[in-house]
Symmetry: C2
Subunit: 215 residues, 2 copies
Amino acid sequence: MSDDTKALVRSTALRLFRERGYAATTMRAIAQEAGVATGNAYYHFASKDHLVQELYLDVTSEHAVAARAVLAQGGDLTARLRGVMLAGVDAFAEYHAFGAEFVTVAIRPGSAASPFSAESSRSRELSQDVFRELVEGASPAVPTALREELPDLLWLAQLGVTLFWVYDGSPGQRRTRTLVEGAAPLIGRLVRLSRLPVLRGAADDVLALVRAVRS
Amino acid sequence: MSDDTKALVRSTALRLFRERGYAATTMRAIAQEAGVATGNAYYHFASKDHLVQELYLDVTSEHAVAARAVLAQGGDLTARLRGVMLAGVDAFAEYHAFGAEFVTVAIRPGSAASPFSAESSRSRELSQDVFRELVEGASPAVPTALREELPDLLWLAQLGVTLFWVYDGSPGQRRTRTLVEGAAPLIGRLVRLSRLPVLRGAADDVLALVRAVRS
DNA sequence: GAGAGCATTTGAACACGTTCAACTGAACAG
DNA sequence: CTGTTCAGTTGAACGTGTTCAAATGCTCTC
């Protein structure tokens, strides 16, 4: 049946990606391992990138589950941000050897696997929801002025951390963890300070800039 | 002669890149247009990425010249940052149609064209020197505490702006210009505020983080 | 049951980046 | 002049992602 074939190709591809990485997993190998013709894989998935996108969906879901466990414990913005981002580093750790390849695929603007693409809207929204929950459930509460834009900014920050992670050759991605450990309290502090008169103007400018750039 | 052949392949490749973009410029087309065999191009350039790196070197040099003209006019940090970054947007504008492809190539960690690769050290240092000059020549002077790390941070910011630019589909890259126009005074203001007691701690944390993450 | 229409499947074919064994020709040694 | 060496050059060959005309099967209609 068609649905079975599609699921089979999908799971075979994901297994091979995990075992061999992106480049070493050829479409011919996926098809052969799944016991179908090469062209059949293309009938179900428009390109190799679309199969990678399926992998991202898997990993993102995994991260979302781990992140919600962290968020369930409450805490202030710093603790929650730190926990969610470290959970991300853990969730991605398995793929670090091939991370470079995969991010390369993801960053190509036309790619289905791009975090901004229409095809990856599901995993993007899954991830953005986590950051929205992170901000809304923080205690003490995040200043109302920031509450609307901050989730998306933190989601972007997570993309930045991921990009850093790709280039991080240190054992166990220690440098990325150091970055998160340092950046989380820094962001927490700046958010708190944003209420102060001296910083109020700068904070407003940041928000105005975000909105201007969006439209 | 060998040097002539190399120069011919190089200039042919750059011309075709400018005319057709990355993907549509095949190694066969470069070789044919240059009147040599395909393998000959590979004798002189290890890969297609290495030819792209030559294009980056060209564009970076062009930007460095424009940036120095801006810096020669003096000004404070905000004005200089704004000028240099807008000069960057102008220098890259010609390639925006294909920018996505080229940045894709550049971001691949193993790639010769990566801004962090050994192969692109020349264009990287060329670019980093501009930001060092930007900071050192600013008047009023940048706080000494920041003077060492700021150039590299601004260079990274420029990479971030470039990444944004790639995804910017607005006419004339208006959104990227808006981003620069907004971010430059914001950065200028934060650098000024960094001397204030309230922010002194946060500024120190940023510097400590940068240094911790570096090593 | 026969046939028509459509979803599914096949594998050969295409153009690509890259590799490589073989060839060329100039420079130099004896 | 002959032989040797080797940087420079050639074009066929390899494996890749992707496409496509053709074959196959499934489902509904009459």
